[in-house]
Symmetry: C2
Subunit: 217 residues, 2 copies
């Protein structure tokens, strides 16, 4: 069967492509696999039917025959293992690409997500303004280290991989903050990711949900 | 060659087993693989030699022949793919176990790490006390969802897997806070993990570094 992913019925970012379904759409486009999308309302995300697929009440999920997966990283790894285009064939290079998948989600994204938490869950607190520079310093520290490792390379380890797909996606969340602008190598890296035809297709597909023009990739 | 992992020369938790090398030690014990340990000082972790292995200046790393990996999740997945004992053979069950690895690191651990950040990086700020209940509520929300999914099962999806290894490790970080105590199913789940001989061996090996009795597993 054609895999089915879930996405927000109304994306909180208004179609900027920052919701996590964009990452899965991008991966499916990179490997040339068609997919269907089931849109989920905020209300339905917290209801038993969706929680049976995604115990934390989030999107995306991935359904294929009798397999149900959640967690963007796990879904993308599953796609990458079954189709060529997202992981190198060589065993060591493959393990290093997977390392960058975990680094994107587990080391670089958490301080970035603190920005959203500070804005949406603590934006009305008396400490909101004073705390912001501390969060930004922690993000800059990670960006410094990431930029140093990337250097002048196009991608993090050899050819484009699922590790780059996730790292670029994570860095894109920073664009509204302007924090990325101080790291020209990372700006160029993100631009290379965005320029990929598969990203363009994924972005257009998620935007089409928002503008009401289409809901399938 | 016998793989070499890195660990703190002086663990900040004083041997409680919360540093991430314990997770890798546990995985290696589950699959019965010997390993060596190279201890790294806080100073050396930020120096070029270590940064060439771990661009974010953290432990653990994993070296095996000419392969160098970092990120605990990636290291454990690499071990689990090469040795029996941490992932099911069936493809779908394997993908679901990997989903729990990502869920532990990417969905459950980030709010828990906010507790450490609040304590060690913002503990002297005027908002420290007032902000703590907000962080704790976010953690409780995740624990509620995780406990509901676990239910009365021993492990998250069938037999013990690398997903449980990481989830138990993440939940262990909460013990000092007392937050786990309101979730008896999760308390029992963590206890089942700790009772495994492989965990006991890993815990003893990391403690031996602290007490000065040994540094290899």
């Amino acid at each position: 069967m054609t895999p089915i992913i879930t996405a927000f019925e109304r994306s909180p970012d208004g179609g900027k492509g920052l919701a996590r379904d964009t990452r899965v759409r991008w991966a499916l486009e990179e490997v040339g696999q068609p997919y269907e999308v089931r849109l989920v309302s905020f209300h339905a995300m917290k209801a038993p039917a969706h929680l049976s697929l995604q115990p934390f009440g989030q999107i995306p999920t991935y359904e294929e025959d009798d397999l149900v997966l959640f967690e963007t990283g796990a879904i993308i790894l599953h796609i990458a293992e079954r189709h060529a285009g997202l992981l190198p064939n060589d065993g060591n290079a493959r393990a290093r690409a997977i390392t960058w998948m975990f680094a994107a989600l587990n080391t670089v994204e958490p301080p970035i997500l603190e920005l959203s938490t500070a804005k949406f869950q603590e934006g009305d607190k008396p400490w909101a303004q004073e705390r912001l520079p501390l969060i930004m310093d922690r993000i800059r520290h990670r960006l410094d280290q990431l930029s140093a490792r990337l250097g002048d390379a196009d991608w993090l380890d050899g050819a484009f991989s699922a590790g780059d797909l996730l790292m670029v996606s994570v860095l894109l969340r920073l664009r509204p903050s302007g924090l990325l602008d101080a790291f020209p190598k990372l700006v160029a890296y993100v631009a290379r990711g965005e320029a990929r035809p598969a990203y363009q297709q994924a972005f257009a597909a998620q935007l089409a949900v928002f503008t009401g023009k289409s809901s399938a990739g």
